[in-house]
Symmetry: C2
Subunit: 171 residues, 2 copies
């Protein structure tokens, strides 16, 4: 039979466990809102023990239309700044929280390449946002220039875990 | 720098391209509803050319509460048959269609292990459903006994692509 078709990096598996343990310790549940990672943040988190209680799931909003339909990201906002900007990341995280039973939402949107986006944003630019029920939303910008798509995905998932840890610790 | 942390199997990449090409040919857009695969079906589809127009995204509903909150899966149904049964797969696909602008929804729910679920369903049992706007929902059962989790994920994603192809060709 086949070997594992998607063998996830050991460091990411360890980080996923840390995020889940921290969340369990604080009795917080999680949800993701993913654009450029298209589900990978949740998929890696789901490998950690206890994920079936702590990870409610996630929203993959790959098109603009779906960002609006599913997470209420205003289309006027995306006409102004595209889909890779801090306000869209914030709206994604807050929309995910509004539409799920989770306590903390982590959102990520970025330019996965191979070309810059229509607004001239370079490949490797990412915005992440963390929203918590009753708390302030935190937005983070990350630049990962000159990376291949596989490395970009790795760095994107790792950045999402960093933000998740920060949000949980600050809760 | 790191090598690709999640190098996706060549056959899956090819199958994702076939699904996307077929959908583009019929002018149909896609959305996923994923439980046991936790986002991997959408993540693999997103690697294919044209995904940013054809794949609206997906719903990752890992907990029962999220299946109800996000996709309207009745909690009474899950009390009766658990989360791994044909009616839940059907409700997930139809819920995803109802809550997104997509034309076709593919849902998957299964026992990823390492233990059987609370209803005694064995590891490797999966139900998939395909829903199309204005069409009939199709439900498929798959049994993959004695598989490691990596192989199960592989077979689950492949099964979802099979159903997606069927739904698009029949549209």
């Amino acid at each position: 039979m086949k070997t594992d078709f998607c063998k996830i990096d050991e460091r990411l598996l360890r980080e996923a466990k840390v995020v889940l343990r921290l969340a369990q310790h604080k009795n917080l549940t999680l949800v993701t809102a993913e654009s450029c990672t298209a589900g990978l943040v949740a998929a890696v988190l789901s490998t950690a023990p206890g994920a079936s209680e702590t990870l409610h799931g996630g929203y993959i909003t790959y098109t603009e239309a779906n960002k609006t339909a599913v997470l209420d990201v205003p289309s006027a906002l995306m006409e102004k700044c595209g889909t890779v900007c801090s306000d869209v990341a914030r709206a994604m995280a807050e929309g995910a929280l509004a539409h799920s039973p989770a306590d903390v939402a982590i959102a990520i949107t970025g330019v996965a390449g191979p070309e810059p986006d229509d607004f001239g944003n370079p490949v490797g630019l990412m915005y992440l946002a963390g929203a918590r029920r009753g708390g302030e939303t935190k937005v983070m910008r990350r630049d990962f220039p000159s990376q291949e798509s596989g490395n970009l995905r790795y760095l994107a998932v790792l950045s999402a875990f960093d933000l998740a840890r920060h949000m949980i610790e600050a809760a």
